[in-house]
């Protein structure tokens, strides 16, 4: 915590501002308050100028390492585009798919990215609705994960098309051929749901961003100011504006939650509507939603830890946040365990030959290493570690757990997509998928894009919603301790 950097401005004429209240005289009380401020961001009230600076300083000064990273990531993005072009020119056969495994890494990435795109909305909208106050500083980091993960997820169905140059046939537009897309196909439900979710997420994130952009506008000059001026939409921070803002946020929060649930349910229908063993399951809707939230929470934890360490956001991101997120992850892990158990048990009990074959393949066959790794990463490790608060607040440990959860959830999608497809009703046509260089490069490239877009975003827009922090601190003061209210009033 940058305690020593806090410079105290001179007291105003109206007395001490609310952020400069002296500690209680009683030593025991003073100690308690110091402890409480250390632990809780919302109690640790500081001068707004300082808080703004905590946020803006790391945005302004970039290390050489940052630029090197940007160049490397941009190289990765170019590699993605080049490989995509190569794939489009030569044919999708450069990928390792074959008969019968027609979907592989691209669809895995699609499902995975849609999945991690869930956490943003969940943390910002659902936790907002449920009034989890500690979510305040982390909501934007999560929403940003959603934005970029979703945009990459939306690209994958195009990458995986055999004739990508005909992608517009998937869109409903009037044409002389009198042909429309087929709404029988889950592949059209997908874009509908995803585009709805994507546009809602953009608006939701943007609305929450407006006051902070206005803050940036007020603290910058020249071109940057012009830039922020455009996006700030003339925000001045009047009561009326805040009231509108609040209403809009609430409306979106309530509205986007069902969309969020529907999106991954619909993604799951891509699979559960099919006749394929390992796919044809009624539990897939909620199972996919939980899986998405699980991996998404993990992804947000990773993003937060990296942001905190690289952008010096120790003031905003405190152990309490990681503690909360980790507890969420634990709950989601247990829920995932339940759904997976359910998804496993039903076919096991039914005992259809092809399901049994698939289960044998996963338990003792060639894919056993993947299956056990998935179970260990998704069920065992969170359950063993996250019960302990020490681990939940130890960033190194939490980072490792979150990464393992990503590995586990990615493997889960691999097991669902290419591994399930490898088995079907006629043993003559079983098969296997072998990973090839092009899809590896495209996968790496899109993740490079995701990270690059994310880090550039963090340098342009405040990744901590400062207004939410201020609001939270103020509300907290109002709600909790009477004398803060007095101080607030005196500050005005």
């Amino acid at each position: 915590m940058p305690e020593e950097n806090i410079s105290r401005p001179s007291p105003t004429e109206r007395g001490l501002p609310y952020w400069e209240q002296p500690l209680p005289e009683d030593k025991e009380l003073a100690k308690q308050e110091t402890e409480a401020r250390k632990d809780n961001l919302l109690l640790d009230v500081r001068a707004p100028a300082d808080v703004n600076r905590y946020m803006m300083d790391p945005m302004r000064r970039q290390s050489r390492r940052f630029w090197v990273l940007c160049v490397i990531l941009a190289g990765g993005v170019l590699m993605w585009w080049g490989t995509w072009l190569y794939q489009a020119i030569n044919g999708i056969g450069v990928e390792g798919i074959g008969r019968p495994v027609m979907w592989a890494v691209y669809i895995v990435n699609f499902v995975y990215l849609i999945g991690i795109g869930h956490a943003g909305t969940f943390i910002s909208a659902a936790l907002r609705v449920l009034k989890f106050e500690w979510r305040r500083p982390i909501s934007r980091a999560a929403e940003t994960v959603t934005l970029f993960a979703l945009s990459m997820a939306a690209v994958y169905p195009l990458i995986h098309l055999g004739r990508v140059w005909k992608f517009y046939w998937l869109l409903p537009y009037p044409n002389q051929r009198q042909l429309w897309p087929s709404y029988h196909s889950p592949l059209l439900w997908d874009p509908t749901a995803i585009l709805t979710y994507f546009s809602c997420s953009i608006l939701f994130a943007y609305i929450s961003l407006i006051p902070d952009i206005a803050m940036m506008r007020d603290h910058t000059t020249g071109r940057w100011q012009a830039f922020y001026r455009i996006f700030a939409l003339g925000w001045r921070g009047t009561e009326k504006e805040w009231a509108h803002h609040e209403t809009t946020q609430n409306v979106f929060s309530y509205g986007i939650i069902p969309v969020m649930f529907s999106v991954h349910t619909i993604v799951s229908w891509d699979f559960s509507m099919a006749l394929q063993a390992g796919w044809h399951s009624t539990i897939f809707g909620p199972y996919f939603v939980v899986g998405a939230l699980f991996s998404g929470t993990g992804a947000v934890i990773i993003a937060l830890i990296v942001l905190r360490q690289t952008m010096n956001l120790k003031f905003f991101l405190r152990p309490e946040h990681f503690n909360g997120m980790a507890m969420f992850m634990l709950v989601l892990s247990l829920t995932w365990d339940y759904f997976y158990f359910n998804d496993y048990m039903a076919p096991w009990f039914a005992g259809a030959p092809v399901d049994r074959t698939l289960n044998i393949l996963l338990q003792s066959g060639a894919y056993a290493p993947f299956w056990y790794t998935m179970l260990i990463c998704n069920a065992l490790i969170p359950a063993l570690t996250l019960w302990s608060k020490k681990i939940r607040t130890n960033l190194t440990a939490l980072f490792i757990v979150a990464v393992l959860v990503q590995v586990g959830m990615y493997l889960e999608r691999i097991i669902i997509v290419p591994f399930s497809l490898a088995r079907n009703e006629l043993p003559f046509s079983w098969g296997v998928y072998t990973l090839q260089a092009p899809e590896t490069m495209i996968t790496i490239g899109t993740f490079c894009f995701l990270i690059l877009a994310y880090i550039i975003f963090t340098r342009i827009f405040p990744i901590i919603p400062l207004w939410e922090v201020y609001e939270g601190q103020a509300l907290h003061g109002l709600r909790k301790v009477g004398h803060y209210l007095l101080h607030l009033k005196s500050a005005e």
Partner: protein, 737 residues
């Protein structure tokens, strides 16, 4: 104001240029295609409507009738000729693939001379030069000319070759290819001569048989006539006579026939004759309610003392099974015994073949009735037309001896590829080195053409004239017509025409070969045919013969059937366990060579359809497999896809292990067909040639081999998911019920 090239201006013009390029790109000039009408339309061709021409398939010696779909001068599809008595509209995979021979991208488009044999330095020459060279060489050689041909050459070419060689005093053409030799055509004829007094190939009325015991004969495979026996098999199964036939297959490695058999018995390689003899002995010593009491009497003519246990130990067929075979064979109304081609590759080939044919002799063939075995009939046609007569391996060795002795000045190779087909030990290489001039008529440079001095590319069968006399597998006298169905591609000329032209200059030959071209020759032959089922009276014989695809007797003429078979006093039967070549310790496995059902003896290897289609039993394409029993594989520590070295006393090849559940554990099976060095882009560089494992003797089916791993592994180009098919679903059988 003077225009200056500033950066801004430059950009402006560059943009304009780019815009113009984009505009030009929108107006796609390749939108237009040209339509070239016929100058003089062929009267039977309508634009957009297919025309079908009848001809004869030449992908194997069986001689199925085909019709070819022609549109705009291109051959699009081959189908069986529905009128043709042999194949009744049906065709096998190889017959379907014949189009790719016609349109093969590796065909020679002109005669070439090669500077230095095997150098592949070809120089295209004009036909006049090629013909003159051939003429000069033939004239210089006098009677020291030899002809090596393949069994699927047209009858008229064989006829012309025969007349030419006899006119100039050279020895008769030697007809040899592995397909024929591995099916034992020559040996069978000898046996039939000895047993029935007629050197003809047997025909089996499979469709009307009730009990069939096949001693390793792959009836449904590529050997005899896959299409004919396929049709017959359909009848055999559907029970045209009110019952479903019963097929027993004895063989060490399951073939297509074995897969469809009702009883498959993995007999020890080479011991089929012993089984046949045991059945005869048992029939002679037992008395069953046989429909024909004479059967026992006839069996006694051959029979010797029977020791069931000894036979069982030697053959791997248990005494119970032997008794069962004997009983069903003796009690059946129309039983049939079919010898496999593999029997002819044993050291004492004729003994085993005789034992099997003796079973047919014992049955006695009810005169005129359905079922049983018959021998190809002789009639007036056989004086007019000829069928290339396969030579035995010994005949071939005689020819090679002559070549080595320098007694052959010019060697003509037509329709065969001996460099690929003959085992190294036969010494063809040394023999060829002693021949001053080798002329090949191959349309595609194969291994033999690569060793030739002059290549005069022949036309493929879809562009050339000819006929084929049906044999084997058919008991009606049928001549199948062959005509060009498309305008010949390239500057290729038919070998018969070339030979007729050359013969004009050789006085002795000119006398017997006076025709201007092969069509004149064919017309003269056909004109002498009697009235047949589809041919009209004399004026239109030729046209209708071409239109309908051949000549066959009118429906009234019943199949001559088994009645033609006359029995001589049978020779005594002595079948002994064959001695396999190679030390059992050093070479622990029997080698089972079999003819690939798609690539045949290798002649189909240059057709991508055949190469890329999965073999029916292994589902592997493009590769040479070394098939062994899974138990054996485990014992010697190899697994699927492992590259192994197969070595025999005569040579060694590399192949990929394929564990094949339906074969004896003491046997290694390899299919022929792959391992070409030349023969076009699709054939070369795929697999290896198992004929290299065979020594320089006729006993190609009695070789021992060893299998050693090279430690490398490859991916099989396989269609099935092998572990899935082998293990399948837990507790669930074949999905086909």
């Amino acid at each position: 104001m003077t225009p200056k090239i500033t950066r801004r201006n430059f950009l402006r013009f560059a943009t304009l240029g780019a815009g113009a390029t984009i505009l030009a790109g929108c107006a796609n000039p390749r939108r237009w295609v040209t339509l070239e009408p016929y100058v003089r339309p062929p009267e039977e061709q309508l634009a957009g409507v297919a025309t079908w021409y009848a001809s004869t398939c030449r992908m194997c010696p069986a001689g199925c009738g085909i019709i070819v779909r022609i549109m705009n001068g291109r051959a699009l599809k081959i189908e069986g000729n529905p009128e043709h008595p042999l194949n009744q509209g049906k065709l096998c995979a190889r017959g379907q693939a014949g189009l790719q021979l016609l349109y093969n991208p590796d065909r020679l488009n002109a005669p070439v001379v090669q500077s230095g044999r095997g150098s592949h330095q070809f120089r295209a020459i004009a036909w006049e030069e090629g013909i003159n060279t051939l003429f000069d060489k033939l004239q210089g050689a006098g009677d020291q000319v030899a002809v090596l041909g393949g069994s699927s050459m047209s009858g008229h070419l064989y006829d012309i070759l025969g007349r030419l060689t006899s006119a100039i005093g050279a020895s008769a053409p030697v007809i040899y290819d592995p397909l024929v030799s591995m099916n034992g055509y020559v040996a069978l004829k000898d046996v039939d001569m000895a047993l029935f007094g007629k050197a003809a190939l047997p025909t089996y009325d499979l469709g009307n048989a009730d009990i069939v015991i096949s001693f390793g004969a792959d009836l449904l495979g590529p050997g005899l006539s896959q299409v004919r026996y396929g049709i017959e098999y359909g009848k055999f199964r559907s029970g045209r006579l009110g019952q479903r036939g019963y097929l027993v297959q004895l063989e060490p490695h399951q073939s297509l026939t074995g897969a469809k058999a009702d009883l498959w018995l993995p007999v020890q390689p080479g011991m089929e004759g012993l089984v046949a003899q045991a059945i005869i002995d048992l029939i002679a010593s037992h008395s069953f309610a046989s429909p024909d009491p004479l059967r026992v009497e006839r069996a006694k003519l051959f029979a010797g003392p029977v020791d069931l246990n000894k036979t069982a130990a030697a053959t791997g067929i248990s005494p119970t099974e032997l008794l069962h075979l004997e009983q069903i064979f003796a009690e059946a109304e129309r039983p049939l015994a079919i010898p496999g081609g593999g029997l002819s590759g044993l050291p004492d080939a004729n003994a085993s073949l005789t034992a099997v044919q003796a079973l047919n002799f014992i049955v006695g063939m009810p005169a005129g009735g359905p079922g049983g075995m018959s021998l190809s009939p002789e009639d007036q046609l056989s004086k007019l037309v000829v069928k290339p007569q396969p030579s035995s391996f010994s005949d071939l060795l005689v020819l090679l001896g002559k070549m080595k002795a320098g007694a052959v000045k010019v060697l003509l190779v037509l329709g065969s590829n001996p460099v690929y087909e003959l085992p190294l030990q036969a010494g063809l290489a040394e023999a060829l080195a002693k021949v001053p001039y080798v002329v090949s008529f191959a349309p595609i440079v194969d291994e033999t053409a690569a060793q030739a001095d002059l290549i005069l590319p022949d036309r493929t069968y879809l562009e050339s004239w000819g006929y084929d006399v049906l044999s084997p597998a058919f008991d009606l006298p049928v001549v199948s017509s062959q005509q060009p169905v498309v305008t010949p591609r390239f500057d290729a000329r038919s070998a018969a025409d070339v030979l007729l032209t050359v013969a004009k200059g050789i006085p002795a030959a000119a006398k017997v070969l006076s025709w201007t071209d092969e069509v004149a020759f064919l017309k003269e032959v056909i004109a002498q045919f009697p009235q047949g089922a589809v041919t009209g009276d004399n004026g239109v014989i030729w046209e209708r013969y071409l239109q309908h695809g051949g000549w066959w007797p009118a429906a009234a003429a019943a199949p001559q059937g088994p009645a033609t078979m006359q029995a001589l006093p049978p020779p005594p039967l002595q079948v002994a366990a064959p001695q396999f070549l190679g030390d059992a310790g050093q070479y622990p496995f029997f080698l089972h060579l079999y003819v690939s059902s798609l690539l045949s003896d290798g002649r189909g290897a240059n057709l991508p359809w055949l190469q890329a289609s999965p073999d029916p039993l292994t589902t592997v394409s493009w590769q040479t497999l070394v098939e062994i029993n899974p138990a054996t594989a485990q014992k010697i520590g190899v697994e699927d896809g492992e590259v192994v070295k197969v070595s025999s006393p005569y040579g060694e090849i590399e192949g990929y292990i394929y564990t094949y559940p339906a074969m004896r554990p003491d046997t290694v099976a390899i299919a022929t067909g792959q391992g070409h060095i030349d023969y076009g882009r699709y054939a070369s560089q795929h697999g290896s040639n198992p004929l290299l494992l065979v020594g320089a003797q006729p006993a190609w089916a009695s070789v021992r081999v060893n299998v050693t791993s090279t430690g490398r592994k490859v991916k099989l180009s396989i269609f099935e998911w092998k572990p899935g098919v082998e293990e399948g679903f837990p507790n669930q059988a074949f999905p086909g019920g």
